[in-house]
């Protein structure tokens, strides 16, 4: 992550708090109140950064860090709020969201956002990049870091995802984890369920309540020896 324009915060004043995320998002939207539930990715992102991912602002360039790739780059406010809450950049940066001089766009750019592993926005790029990231780590003997990629259920329409899913299973990419945020927004749906697509390709897969932090944590941390893991997090259908 070079060429960043926002510096990490040195020493958070207080520990990250889920209930602070609404306020952080308000800094971006200008609205007075923002319920976390308004953002489909919020709870899963929170549990990942709070309890699962082994990465901090201090280790953001460490080859041995866990990686989180936001593939569904659309609607990144929850992501920015979580990164700010964890000190990857100061919350003042949030106020400029989407402006010409801000590092925070409506789709994230890894060269501008501290802590962002990829730039995204065009759908269907994150999962292939995550496959390559696992392959690159493995080629260097780095079998401990885990790689997470977040996609949306509608994003799964893009065929590139299915190239990656079909390869990662037989290749046994145990370090790879896909989090599918399912707000039932895919135009033609997924008859038979999203998890079954992953399972058919040899992944370990589970479907959980995307608002239940304990259920998410259990799903995120369950062992899956020799296989990549998919967690489908169901949230309220997109209105």
């Amino acid at each position: 992550m070079t060429n960043t324009t926002a510096a990490p915060v040195r020493g958070l004043r207080h520990s990250p708090d889920f209930h602070d995320l609404g306020r952080l998002i308000s800094l971006m939207t200008g609205a007075e109140k923002h319920a976390p539930a308004a953002h489909s990715t919020m709870d899963a992102l929170w549990v990942l950064y709070d309890r699962v991912l082994r990465v901090t602002p201090a280790t953001a360039d460490d080859p041995g860090r866990d990686r989180f790739l936001l593939s569904k780059g659309h609607g990144p406010m929850a992501y920015y709020a979580v990164l700010a809450a964890h000190g990857f950049f100061g919350e003042d940066v949030l106020r400029g969201f989407g402006t010409y001089g801000s590092p925070l766009g409506h789709h994230p750019d890894r060269l501008l956002v501290p802590g962002a592993e990829i730039g995204s926005g065009s759908l269907g790029h994150g999962l292939p990049l995550a496959v390559g990231t696992v392959l690159g780590l493995r080629a260097q003997g780095l079998t401990d870091p885990r790689v997470w990629v977040l996609v949306g259920d509608a994003e799964l329409d893009e065929g590139s995802n299915h190239e990656a899913i079909a390869h990662a299973g037989p290749a046994g990419l145990e370090q790879l984890h896909t989090l599918v945020i399912d707000n039932a927004s895919a135009t033609h749906g997924w008859p038979g369920g999203i998890a079954s697509r992953f399972e058919a390709a040899g992944w370990s897969a589970v479907t959980v309540d995307g608002r239940d932090h304990e259920a998410l944590h259990t799903a995120f941390t369950a062992p899956h020896p020799g296989r990549p893991r998919a967690v489908v997090a169901r949230v309220e259908p997109k209105g």
């Binding site: 890894r110 730039g119 292939p128 496959v131 390559g132 493995r138 080629a139 260097q140 590139s160 390869h167």
Partner: protein, 300 residues
Amino acid sequence: MDTMRDRFIATTSQLLGEEPRLAVVLADISADGFAPARRAHPDRVINVGIREQLLIGAGAGMALTGMRPIVHTFASFLVERPFEQVKLDFGHQGVGGILVSAGGSYDWPAGGFTHMAPGDVALLDTLDGWTVHVPGHPDEAEALLREAVDGDDRVYVRLSLQANREARPVGGGTGFSVVREGRGGSVVAVGPMLDNVLAATEGLDVSVLYATTVRPFDAAGLRRAVGAGPGADVVLVEPYLAGTSTARANEALVELPHRVLGLGVGRAELRRYGRMDEHLAAHGLDPQGLRERITGFLRA
């Protein structure tokens, strides 16, 4: 003589033993050739199957972790089919890598238009930061590949079955080389077009330049060449889409009155099979066709 693709496989297989950062990503094409290397380096020779979007994305993902990926298949499936992956997964993510294509404009004419990629260099030309090598001989392909492996940037190496009889010194940032000096205009031959250009200009009072690295375009070298003669008349002979480098030549000569003729593969689909020499003739890229158009333009 081995082909450029043979040499690419042999050289890369050797370099895998010397460069721990080097990786190869394939989509079934050339998988047999790389089978011994894959056995020796199973974590660094990856075959994703017939999945070209994943091919590019996986190569770029490896680059994100600090590896130096070589990504290879036919030009049509490497550059054209997954073009947005090339644009975003390498360019927008800000990582480097080496794309090595085979098949060129019509290496397999009997295979038809689905396996022809005359537009690959023009397409890459819409992107920033790609070095484009078009070797004209297996020795040149090896030298340019070795140079690319040593770097960190984004490089496209366009391999073809079409080749010149003799190799020339290439690479090292030396730019276009002067093969023949004359006063009646300058002809730039790109990669495998050199032998036909030399045959076509036999006995003509023209300069012949040889180019294997076309991006960045050697503007200073072209200016030097035209500066030696009375007029700035330039003919570009490229083995891909005609006119691909015409704008670059115009930019190089912007301070001079000049004329540029861009020769190469025509845009119209021939819908013909057959052999490479028949396609070269059909596009006017055989010695006779080139001589007619070069003398007509230069009035040499």
